[in-house]
Amino acid sequence: MTREVTRVTLPTVLVLIAAASLPAARQGQPPQAGEMRVIETGGGGRASPLPPGSGPGAAIGGPAGGGLAPQATIPAGTGLIMGTTLDAGSARPVGGALVTLRLPGAAPIRALSDGQGRFVFRGLPAGSFTLDSTKPGYVDGAYGRARPGGPSRALALSDGERLATASIALWKFAVVAGRVVDERGDPMVGTTVQVIRMSLVGGNDRFVLGPSDATDDRGMYRIGMLEPGNYVVAVPRSQQDGLRSILVETARTGSGGPTSLAMGLPAVALPPPDANGQRPFVVNFGTDVKTDASAGLDPDGRPRVYATVFHPDAPTASKALSMTLTSGQVRSGVDFQMRSTSTRRVAGRVRMPDGQPISLSLTLVPVDSDGMPSPFETATALADTTGAFTFAAVPEGQYLLRAVRVPRRFTSFSIGSDQLRMVSALMAASSAPDPGELTLWAEQSVTVGSADTEDVGLTLHNGNTVSGQVELDASSGRLTGDQMQRISLTLEPLGSGLAAVGGPVSGHCDASNRCVSGPALPGPYVVRLSGLPQNWFFRGASLDGRDVTDSPLDLESSDLSRVTLTLTTKVTDLSGIVVRPMASRADDGDLVIAFPEDRGQWTGYGTSPRRLRAVRADTRGAFSITGLPAGRYLLAAVRDSSASDWQRPAFLETLVADAVRVDLSEGAKVTQSVKLVTR
């Protein structure tokens, strides 16, 4: 959804090629031999998989969905659905919106609404349909959706029914616009302006990258596609030192094959295969990155650089102006004046845990970076094969020097009869494949003062694992070895430190009920189990008697092997009725929220909350919440349209006074009515 046209690089092109050829039925499954994994280009050397079916590649393979695995068409009938696509703010029609009608199990029908926003689907059978709509410039709408990103509603059509009132609201994106000038007031041309959204992660606000735009020849930018929310806007400036390249490894599988790879780039000759039939080689798709002296040189010859600025003139996101944007709002005048600053050199050497040199990418992050992701690092550099690295131009300040290597993920594709694997990363041209595919990390603080720093020694540490034994609740029965092996243990990072940089780490369980995570970076995590057999439930994990499910486990530089993981079949069920004011008409727009009585559990729960749940009541007001862990909860009901921030602690706080207390013991079935809070 972002304007990333300018960032399309070689790997992206390849992603498109291969995605085109993947049958839809296979998407979302783990890659098999000869298949590809979709990898996004990570400037910081970390590649992460995109969700299947997302990204630009998904569109190209479209007919693979329709054509290769034909779905049944929606059966004929005499029903009719007619409606209008509307702007949620002005209630005026939105013409030319794409409306998609879906019936489970059948191929969807798509229609473009007319100039007055009208659409119609005739000849429909009875069934439970969903309707959604997209239009460039608007947040997607759906039948029954009352807030951006909120739940939608199925449309039940009886035999021969004609429904003419299926309106779909679309929310106009908000816009920020402004100008970027240098210290002389001249426009900065082609400079990236980045929008950062404050998003709730684990109950805490985190800065998440939004869309970006490049300034034009007047220094002006304009970024649309902003959903309602809180934003800061910045001009990130990151220095890069080293060679940007991708490593392509080929495995020859036939005697034919091409002599070169040509993908809209200068052709690259393929090397002869080695004794094993492998042809590892490197494609450089950039040139040697040189120091950016666009801000000029100091009299001593050192380059000056422009420092990252957050609007209006702040060095960090938390000191920036936070703007609350509503649907359709245009916030112009979000301007920047860039200032250049003098720099120092930071050089050193990085070593493996055994003292051997290693070539890998390093980043220098401000100490007060607020967990901002790339491109908000101050600089990246590439150590050469002797482990030597140089950051050529670093402004004065306090930094964390980080090096993280996680097992590489490959893109596989074939050209002719050659199977190729590609990894996109910032790595040295001569870097040999990492045999152990180790998880390595290092973090060290660096102060850049008035002189160059020449002798930073950085030693990598191995990642550490968390493991433990699964215990089954005594009365719950047993699990087969096969069922156990499908369970995986995942560490979900908390906070914004190194653990969050590494992201969630998954592992596996074996038939002897032992589970182990993959190697993880140090920091706080919560422990999760997934892939549980039906009717089984993860009660929790503990380490030395202390809970590590709802409160954090601190991983340091050693393995933790004594975690106890408990499974049970005793599942809680909390159901009831929403009691509405006498005058209000019954509909299914009520949201029932269950949340812990202990405010400490409103935050710090990893990527997904276990103890925070919201469900929509049906038209009669009935609701049911199953699978909450045992504990003391508060229960409240609100109108869904007012609940866009329901996981936010501030919102939960407003519910406390009107909420009902519910005590859920393990496996309890509790019925509780709850009064609708209207404000």
Binding site: I17, I60, G62, A111, R222, A269
Partner: protein, 641 residues
Amino acid sequence: MTRQTVLLICAAAVSLAAGGQAGVRDARPLASSVARTAELTGTILNDASPAQPVNRAVVTVTGTEEAEAWTDERGQFAIKGLPAGRYTLRARKAGLVSTAYGAKRYDRPGTTIVLADGQRVDRLNVVLSRGAVISGTITDQGGDPAFDVEVRAMQYRPQLNGERTPAPVQTTGASVSNRTDDQGEYRLYGLPPGDYLIVATPRSLGPAEIRVSTDEEIRAALAEMQRPVVGGRGGVGATTPQTPARPAAPPTGTLAAVYYPGTPSASAATAINVSAGDERSGIDVRLQVVRTARVEGQVLTPGGVPPESVQLMLVANASATTPSLLSGALMNRATVAKDGHFSLSGISPGQYLISARTGGGPMVMQFNGGGGGTATMTSTVFHADSSASGQAGPPLWGQADVVVDGQDVTDVVVTLQPGLTLSGRVVFSSRQGLAAPADLSSVRVSMTPMVTSGGAFSPPQVTVDAAGRLTATGITPGRYRIFGGFLAGRSGAASTPGAAWNLLSAMVGDRDALDVAFDVLASGAPSEAVLTFTDVTQEISGRLQDASGVAAPDYTVVVFPAERGLWESMRRIKSTRPGTDGRFTITDLPPGTYRIAALTDMAASDLNDPSFLDGLVGASLPVTLALGEKKIQDFSITSGR
């Protein structure tokens, strides 16, 4: 299109070196102990009047070594510590048109600066003109601002086969494509002077068909609302005796790419001419919904071949479609049913090629990109189904052209037939006593179709065995050229035979397929291809001087075949700018008879134009290059026009 070159007559050869003399001009890599004492300085100015210095322009030098510098507030730069050698220098800054030092125009090669140890060359001044701006508003089919539409500047460029097709502009420091903002506005800047086509491409809505809500459809629905319900709830008093038939399917359509001022076809587009620094606003385009159609037909297969093993692709004729090479609308794949039928829906108006083939190999889509290059996409086929069909025989292929214009096309017949085979051999002919490689299977040969306007094809599979026997299978009729070589390693020349062996010729019948394309007819492929490698190369070098003997660097030297039949052979047509010492070298020319000329100015694309070469014949000198010859030919310019 306008010829901006002025022919200058170079008359007499001053001296012809003795034929066959191997003038050794070593290009050994620089030793690390080389002196780095030379220096280049200069000023970058803009084209205002009076000229202003350009602050923070990037100056790059390439040649013997590469280096980069930024200009200061006075527009000045200095690149110090260079080893002696030959360099070209180029300046760029976003929004301005990148230009080389000594170039006649931004798109012309620059002068080669010859630098001696300790030498400092001053006053290397380059004027950067301000790029032109094209801006406007894109509206949707309803006249509202259209958000997130890709707007791109295109230029006609000659392709490999000589055809001129619109291709994306390739330049640095410019924004040649932009997505519209929420107001539907776009702005392209930094454009070099020239003619541009502007095309607006909405985001692909995906290939499945889309119904278009028409007034008729809405009226029919409103009328239906008035009729009593038949069946279902409230279905009392039904007056219609039978269940109404399903309503006729409404028209389908999609949003198409539109060229300024409002046409889906590049040939009907209006080109916008801009000069340096022009600002052209109001280049507005309104998007259109075009009717889409269904394409259906049957694949006829010889007995025993299950149609399900057929891959079938519908690919738009590139010259008639959008520049978005990666747009999903460009490629449609279909499955072929057991009875051979296939169906594709949501197809926009245009000319298409349906390609079908059996066999598990990949199909390749080729697009003619800018600058004569081509982008090739390979559709990878996972072998799950081809192994199931157990196909062992030669691949079968079939093609059909389809024109879609809003009406369903239901009678396409694609007849599969076996691919053709070409055999041949690889020969090693040594002049310097180099032993032929023992294992020839690392020779790589490709047969590349000369598609006229892009399309899908199945490239022939070419294999070379250890003894040098060549086999190309799965050839479909068409025009082809042959390319070949060794796999070059990054490990250096020593381990790579290709560093010493060069492909001299690829004879198919009496024609060299390295120079000219050959035809494969449906009636049969040519009988044999012979590829010859040698261990020598040829070159022409010399010095260009004026009548008084002074080096004449401000010219371009062109070498082209004496024989008109070879004027499509790009390996035989080369040009270079002499250095400031007047010296030039043109390497890697095949043996043959040539003509050599000097020009004041020339665009690279002129060399693709036979009428341009025709004009040079009278002003050129004959040169013959024998196998392995390094010819030295100095010449002087005696008269101009």
